[in-house]
Structure formats: structure tokens, C-alpha cells
Symmetry: C2
Subunit: 168 residues, 2 copies
């Protein structure tokens, strides 16, 4: 399963993605599930070097700028709130955009590319670097490219710690 | 790509999953990414008929009880908050558990099974049906089984509405 091959990559070759690769990543995002099929998301594919630098600064992680593209996943909370009120604004919109982000990561892995889910960044700085309109909230930065490393996957808690079966 | 084949299924055959299938779904969840690899999640695999009924009632959706297993994805917000404070509690823990949920959906699709992401349910009722300890929050219910339907995937917004390229 591609989703078990996925790893977090922080060293990228400068070679750009092909249009076909980029298209696959964005299709994967577009077909993610969302509450009520509201699709409260936008995807900003950033190849501009200066904007990638700005995004890297917003995250305090230089490697973000090394990837040939950074896909900024943005939430539009009011689109979810319009249908679902506070649960939409504080839960669904974050789940929906996270599902889309995970789809991008898995699609990248299937294409032999690599990526990393960057969640720690200054949202206001990132929004400025991206030129986002009001109401769009950047919730994940996903650098994608050809990996220059294949680090071992980080360990996980054993299943016995995190899984419960209820049969009764 | 399995993630493009995925659809939301609401009619399931009663046949149970094999242990191997169940193991694959939970491995997919376990290997999801999480902020700082904190893994602030628990997965409760419910085969008990009476508990599936209770979960279905908490969601107001009878089909939830028809699936041979319902995987309740639970967040443990304080595990994220301990490392990341409020951003962990209100963002990362929801993203992490959503990534794990999406992995379950995709893994089910890869196995020829089907599933549905149920996000609308009464959390207190679901927690009671699951017998969750304090601090665990159910954030998604995922019925999984053999599909009795193959509905067309619901349409999505065109890419032109949700994708922006920044090259400059």
C-alpha cells in the first residue's frame, strides 16, 4: 500500500514536477471526502522561488523552500459554518482539509515523489506570502519533490496501545 | 489510485471482515502522520451489534449499524496540547486523527471493501456507547464492510474553482 510507503521527506532535488504529476496531486486533493460534500478548501501550488522562501520563513524550516513546489492547503471555515454552524467551523473544515492533505501525501508517494506535512508555521505570515483573500486560512504546507533521502519511517506506538476491540 | 476509487458507501452486506482485513485497516491508521509523531489517537473497532446500534443512534443514521464493524476514531487532545499548547488542542489533534481516518478509508478501498466517514453524531452518546475514558473524544465513525452498492461518486467543484498556481 502506498500509504504504508509514505515517509516525511525533508531533502528535495530541485527538479520540477511534470504537469502530469502536479495534476495527479491536485486531483487527489480534489476528490477527498468532506462533510456534506461542501469542499471547504483551496489549494495554492507555489513554484515561485521567492514565495517558497517566504513560506519557509513562516515555518522556520528552510527545507520547505528547497522543494520545487509547495502546496498550501487552505481552509474556508465559513463555507462549513454556513451549513453546519460551530461544528463545521471548528471541526469539519479541519477534518476535510486534513483528508485532502493526506490524499496529496499518498498520491505523491504513489508517484515516486516525496512530501512532508508541515503544520507548524505562522498563519498570518503564510497567508501574506500566498496573498490569500480574507476568510482563507492556511492549515498545512506540503512541499513536494523528488526525494534526496529515504530515511527510515519513524516508529509508531504498538497497536496494543492504541487499538481496542469491542465485541460484546 | 485507490484514493480516486473510494466512494461513500451506506449499504453493507453483513459478512464480517477477516482478521487480515481488519489488521490492514488498523495498520493504515497507525502509520498516519501526526504533528511531532505524537499519535494522539485511539481506534475502537466495534463489532458488537448492540454497540453498533447505539453508535447508529448517536449519528441518527441506521446504516451505521449494518456494517460488520464500525471503527470509532478518537482524539486525545491533551496529548497534543502537552507538546503544542492550544494549537495542538484545537488544530493538530484534529488533523492527525483526520489523516488516520482518511488512511482507513483508502485502505478499505484498496481491499475491495467500502466505508463512509460519519462526522455528524452526538459525541457524548457515542462516547458512552464506546465506554470511552475521560479525555478521549470520538471525532469520526467509520463503518466498514462489503458494499451492497456502488453509487456514482458525488461531483466535485472543478479544479479551476479551488486551485491557484503561484509562479511569480
Amino acid at each position: 500500500m502506498a500509504l504504508l510507503q509514505r515517509f516525511s521527506c525533508r531533502r528535495f532535488a530541485p527538479a520540477p514536477l511534470t504537469d502530469s504529476e502536479m495534476g495527479h496531486l491536485l486531483e487527489a486533493a480534489r476528490w477527498a471526502p468532506s462533510a456534506g460534500n461542501v469542499q471547504p478548501w483551496r489549494f495554492v501550488a507555489v513554484t515561485s522561488p521567492r514565495r517558497r522562501q517566504s513560506l519557509a520563513r513562516s515555518a522556520g524550516q528552510e527545507f520547505v523552500a528547497d522543494a520545487p513546489v509547495v502546496i498550501a492547503v487552505c481552509a474556508v471555515p465559513e463555507e462549513s459554518a454556513r451549513r453546519y454552524g460551530e461544528r463545521g467551523r471548528s471541526l469539519y473544515v479541519l477534518q476535510d482539509t486534513a483528508a485532502a492533505t493526506q490524499n496529496i501525501l499518498i498520491a505523491a508517494s504513489e508517484l515516486g515523489l516525496a512530501s512532508c506535512w508541515v503544520g507548524a508555521f505562522d498563519e498570518a505570515s503564510a497567508a501574506k506570502a500566498l496573498g490569500l483573500p480574507a476568510g482563507w486560512r492556511p492549515v498545512a504546507l506540503v512541499p513536494v519533490g523528488h526525494p534526496l533521502e529515504a530515511p527510515p519511517r519513524r516508529e509508531r506506538r504498538p497497536a496494543t496501545e492504541i487499538v481496542i476491540f469491542l465485541t460484546d
